[in-house]
Amino acid sequence: MKNMKKSSFVVSALLAVILVLSACGGGSTGGNGGNAGTNNGAGNAQGGTKAGENFRIGMVTDRGGVNDKSFNQTAWEALKQLEGDTGAKVKYLESKTDADLIPNMNQFIKDGYDLTWGIGFLFEDAAKTVAEQNPDAKIAVIDTVVDLPNVESVTFAEHEGSFLVGVVAGLTTETNKVGFVGGMEMPVIKKFEAGFRAGVAAANPDAKVLVNYVGDFNKPDQAKVAASTFYNDGADIIFHAAGGSGNGVFSEAKDRAKSGKKVWVIGVDKDQALEHGDDVTLTSMIKKVDQAVLRVSNDLIAGEFKGGEVTVLGLKEDGVGLPETNKNLTDEVLQQVEEFKQKIINGEITVPTK
């Protein structure tokens, strides 16, 4: 009997909590709805009907998820920007395992989305399967190529951008030793390494390039060890193409900067000086994933979706390159970089990809 009382108390207390909370929840949902309503109204009043309002664009992430501080996040931020600019409705689905890629893409397609993005090289096979099964659906992929009439592929000429930071490293190094820390050893990252090597060699034939792949994009500890080895070995500049692992390279460089040693890191994907500071960040090899996402999505809204085409964004298309401001680079270095850039653009130099 005593137990009985206790348990019915627990149950009734639980119910009470739920009732109270559901009242709160209901209220706040209503509030949100109201807000959304006013926002839409304001948008319409200002700009009339926006171009993209009838468009729905979906994006599927790989296992990194939408907050990966890298690829997926950049792409999603671009889509959010698109939503603000054009009024298109955007949505993402995260994939918990590799097996989720296909059902997640299918979710958007079966719901009639106008465009479905697959972000990252992992989508090659998933996008191919889905595109074959749904020939009317429009699909876009980044960093991989799917040769089907309803898929637009965007890849980057990472080797060209890496060549330029290689030039920077070659001209800046005082020890004639520079390092490269890669994530996983795969074709896309190999392009970074090949371009970097070629750039260093072009600017400073005496400089040596040390290379290490840590095997993952999310292992800053291993990248830190790799960076430490390189710096101990006499390298004074490290270029990383290792996503989240790269934070370990920055961490090591900061530790050394604290103890008074001057070492540099060259960042990747975005201007990493903004996150890690100018003390250790020499420059960055920017890969404009956001521009690619905006470009293809805007094409779609303008009715110019280029299914079946492969867009390669290189130096010429301003898809890769150095940040606009480089506090740590002398005018001399920047001038040389500009010269090499022009040579690559007009075809005088062909940068190797592996």
């Binding site: 009985m4 149950v11 929840g25 590799d98 059902p103 299918n106 096979d125 996983m184 095997g215 999310n218």
Partner: protein, 361 residues
């Protein structure tokens, strides 16, 4: 009849059910706190799972590996071993199947069964290694199996790179058509959902699980070791061989999960930086299923449904996937803390029993 009543006795049914209900309620509370409508969300989950033939098929595809790893953990648990290494055994199963599926060329009636067998053996032997270390050297199986997970991951990546990698790709070559265990007509019937023989083999596995443990002398010995190793030794049971055997069988189950992922779902293996985590989900499945095959089947269905349906909650009701993981976490939490549920369920049952007795009198 009595047998079924033993399986579905009040505490084995009401404790998990109570845990699920409490888990769902906690999930609802969290959604309310976040300003989401739980009714819409659960409806979206339901629709995502049962909304179309495609989704039903893909839900089954999600359930399959959970069923296998659940059986793997449950089986060894019955023998008193906590198998955290199902993840590694799963990976070894994938690798074994991929090697046979890609490297050999055989007629289909030999190729597919051989690939399945080799994958299962890879998983089984990987687990038996843990059992051997425990039996011969007294190494705690929790520590050795979790460490072997990493070794399995990197060993598998190494083998992939050395033997199977398609140049310029992050994955192996495709397996030969003759090694595929996909069911083409079923896939076509279910709008191209990826269907394979895995779920059927998994259900057979659950039956085998039952017969091995409760219908054979070996099984009796395994359970005796699990219940009380000292008493079992006194009764003349060879504990060391029991440990190795039970780990091996558990590993076979986990390995089969990986086998069907490669031969049925992907048809290739990816160079992976981290494991898929099915082995760890399998621990929760086994726990929720009370380490009984029938329970594990139901638990894997629940987990698979929640996992696959979470995308629907995210998509249709705009609830973040994290919330669904919180619900799953809450269910495990409530199952793990038996006491809470029993404190609530038992008094009800007790009073009902009293009433029954009064009625009988």
């Amino acid at each position: 009849m009595d047998k079924w009543r033993n399986i579905f006795n009040p505490s084995s049914v009401f404790v998990p059910l109570g845990a699920i209900v409490l888990g769902l309620i906690s999930g609802a509370v969290i959604m309310l706190l976040g300003g989401y409508n739980p009714v819409d969300a659960y409806q979206a989950l339901f629709e995502k799972v049962f909304g179309s033939p495609y989704d039903i098929g893909e839900t089954i595809r999600t359930i399959t590996p959970l069923l296998f790893t659940g059986l793997a953990v449950g089986f060894t648990y019955r023998a008193g071993l906590f198998n955290i290494g199902a993840d590694g055994q799963y990976i070894m199963g994938m690798t074994g199947a991929a090697i046979v599926g890609i490297k050999l060329q055989l007629p289909w009636f030999i190729h597919a069964p051989l690939a399945v067998l080799v994958g299962a053996l890879f998983g089984g032997l990987w687990a038996a290694l843990v059992g051997y270390l425990k039996a011969s050297r007294g190494v705690n199986e929790v520590i050795s199996s979790i460490m072997l997970n990493w070794i399995a991951l990197y060993l598998s990546n190494y083998l992939l790179r050395a033997l199977l990698l398609e140049p310029g790709q992050q994955r192996s070559y495709f397996i030969h058509e003759s090694a595929s265990v996909s069911i083409g007509w079923l896939s076509r019937a279910l709008e191209n959902a990826r269907m394979d023989w895995g779920i059927f083999i998994g259900l057979i596995g659950a039956v085998v699980f039952y017969f091995l443990l409760w219908r054979t002398k070996q099984g009796y010995e395994l359970r005796a070791v699990g219940l009380n190793p000292d008493a079992a030794r006194y009764a003349g049971i060879n504990i060391k061989s029991s440990i190795v055997k039970s780990m091996f069988i558990g590993g076979v189950f986990a390995g089969l999960g990986g086998v069907f992922e490669v031969l049925g779902v992907f048809h290739y293996q990816v160079l992976s930086a981290a494991s898929s985590g099915y082995g760890f989900d399998g621990i929760a499945v086994a726990l929720l299923g009370g380490n009984h095959p029938v329970g594990i089947v139901f638990a894997s269905i629940l987990f698979g449904t929640l996992t696959y349906g979470s995308a629907g909650m995210n998509f249709s009701a705009d609830v973040p996937t994290e919330i669904v993981r919180i619900v799953i976490g809450a269910v495990i939490f409530f199952v793990a803390s038996h006491g809470i549920i029993q404190g609530i369920v038992k008094p009800f049952l007790a009073s009902r029993r009293k009433l029954d007795r009064k009625g009988a009198a």
